[in-house]
Point group: C2
Chain length 391, copies 2
DNA sequence: GTATTTTGTTCGTAAGTCGAACAATCTGCC
DNA sequence: GGCAGATTGTTCGACTTACGAACAAAATAC
């Protein structure tokens, strides 16, 4: 199915070169030749084909200082973009993201309700507005959904915070915008962004945990591949057990990480509003250290330590099962870790624990836009010519 | 690195055809052509090359009853074998396994101690004995180790039950036998066998849990690929937490599945000896139902339910994170599940839970021999010609 | 015994990669 | 300014592989 005829060789080579540019940025054709390992003549053909497809451009100079004929710099075409859409409880984020993960535009549209028709209508109108008068080539649309999305047909099985259930969102959005669309879980896409461009770059085995207002999500990269599971629901670290028989979770079970460790508790403890979640990390650190004339807040210290201990249970399980090279924490989980003196992987099996590095996420607000666009880029990168010629 | 020149096409096609025969058994060349999707002329070349390598044979008739010229049956060469070695606490298992997972020979050699030199010496001698006067072509040796094995260099980091630590077992065995050798964790290899030939056959996303005298191990298949993790230690489900602050585990932490749910407890409860572990399942079922003049054993029922509940915590976590299509239980965990009325995935997230099937392992005693041999077969199947011509 | 069906074989064509030879264009040096 | 050296782009022939059409082979169907 995948590869028998010689044309598949060219497909793979197009894919490899474009993927390298997407992940690592522009470079000279000579460098490309060295890094990919193709002969100069073959690389000439590959780059020419990518230029013909309008995906890359080649600019003449470069002047590296060394001797020899200068090599043209191959860079991603700037007019090639994907639309990114992320529905939230009170607003819809819509963005335009270039090949290479460059966020071109990004707006937040408030929404009166989260009805599917409302959200889809708003998103479609915003997209049309964004593209008006713009010469960009839009190759597709990616949706980041706060809930479970079935891989394959893009149906939202359950998105509690939006009140959605069994919504064929990909079909709806395709109909409303005319763009080829894909959808996936938001936490998974946030990880995808961190994995390609952020704290998880170059890491083949990665665990990602993100905490926000709506709970705890996550994802993993296994052997360089995104972990999807059989139906696309994998990575629900928020619903792993950290205290059997503990707090009841909206998933129906008890003692889930998401039910035991939540952002609201921490915000309340430091007297912050939900809107100020971004300041949580600094606030926690300062209160625990004591600032100005205040004493260190020992009650808060107890809470933080308890919550970090619960997080450590989930992390320990993830580490023992997946043996990752790194764990990336995002949102309030990063804040919690920075404030707490707990070694999150201390209780993992010794030989596994050694190789793990715990890091904070590196990407900011635009994480989700980049991740959603990756849904489109993944399709393009796998088969550049096939994608554009109506794959 | 992996595929640019046209020769790689042939490598992939050799691999695909041989892999199909390995997994699914002999079939006619016409069937191969249909299933793999190559043209008749190309398949003729591929089969001819595999015959030239001595890996398959083609027998003439077939006579399927239908009209048309009969197609020769292609089957795996019977003289191609791998050696499988599995050191245990009191014995070493040594076997000869044919391509296709056929166990040709299998012996258990008692060992006076588990010193590395003793075990390696015994294994090497047994292998020499097995092969004496045999015309088999031995392509390599696979080791199933009850402990953590570092991928890449085949060093045993820790094997508590053998008392091994930092043992370069692959080097030692290669030196002693002259065979190309590979090693991996035994539970992982048991899963590998079930995944290819047993209860997990054809399942692309699989979780496997095995319980034995030495604890609980496991493994997983993710997107059709074996889960190894960054260093090869992945799948330690036995050290996931099922009761925070619970029983202390030899891994240093507390509340591990392996520490909370163990075979000895169950055996003691039904009055069986460690040697009779194989009868545990039937014994449990009978006692719980009541047999002959006895009443159902309600104390035992309580114990079984408690242990099954703890197992359910580990299973729930695995399911929520990996979204597998099936879970395979082996050893005393299968016995426990068969005896207990607990729905092991009942507390998993709804959309994930739906698609999961819990099964008992299908392979018996020879599981580990088959799995260890798969270490060799995996290398061969990835590049048949390269492997034989000194890859 | 002949037509039909299915499969193996042969051979010409197309696609793709590589490597050698040559051309182009820079730096460095006098 | 001109020439040697270095590096890279370009062209072209050789090689490998896969495919498909035409033909041959060997069974069943009638």
């Amino acid at each position: 199915m995948t590869s028998q005829t010689t044309e598949d060789l060219r497909r793979r080579n197009l894919s490899r070169v474009l993927t390298l540019l997407h992940e690592e940025g522009a470079r000279s054709r000579a460098e490309l030749t060295r890094e990919v390992g193709l002969s100069r003549s073959t690389m000439a053909g590959v780059v020419a084909e990518l230029i013909g497809l309008g995906l890359v451009t080649e600019s003449t100079p470069a002047l590296t200082g060394g001797a020899g004929r200068p090599s043209g710099v191959v860079r991603l075409a700037e007019d090639v973009v994907a639309v990114a859409v992320n529905p939230e409880v009170d607003a819809v984020h819509v963005g335009l993201v270039g090949l290479g993960g460059r966020v071109v535009k990004h707006v937040r549209i408030e929404t009166p309700d989260t009805e599917v028709a409302t959200v889809v209508g708003l998103a479609a109108a915003t997209v049309r507005g964004m593209l008006a008068g713009d010469s960009a080539r839009v190759l597709g649309l990616g949706l980041a959904i706060p809930g479970q999305v079935r891989i394959g047909d893009g149906v939202v099985r359950q998105a509690t915070h939006l009140g959605w259930s069994e919504v064929p969102i990909v079909d709806e959005v395709t109909k409303a915008t005319g763009l080829r669309s894909w959808a996936a879980n938001a936490a998974t896409l946030a990880m995808r962004a961190e994995s390609r461009f952020g704290a998880g770059k170059g890491v083949a085995d990665l665990v990602y945990l993100i905490g926000g207002a709506s709970g705890v999500g996550g994802g993993a990269v296994v052997a360089g591949q995104l972990l999807t599971g059989a139906a696309g629901y994998a990575g629900e670290f928020g619903h792993t057990v950290v205290r059997p028989g503990g707090a009841r979770c909206h998933c129906g079970a008890a003692g889930c990480l998401e039910a035991e460790v939540d952002q609201a508790t921490l915000l309340a403890a430091v007297g912050l509003d939900a809107a100020d979640a971004g300041r949580l990390g600094r606030e926690l650190t300062e209160r625990l250290a004591g600032r100005g004339d205040e004493d260190p807040d020992s009650a808060l210290a107890g809470l933080v330590e308890e919550l970090a201990g619960l997080l450590a249970v989930a992390v320990r399980n993830a580490v023992n099962v997946l043996n990752p090279q790194a764990i990336v924490l995002s949102g309030f989980l990063a804040a919690l870790r920075d404030a707490a003196p707990v070694d999150l992987v201390g209780d993992a099996v010794a030989s596994i624990r050694e190789g793990v590095e715990v890091r904070d996420a590196a990407l900011g607000e635009e994480q989700l836009m980049i991740g959603a666009a990756e849904l489109v880029w993944a399709e393009l990168l796998a088969d550049p010519a096939g994608f554009l010629l109506g794959g």
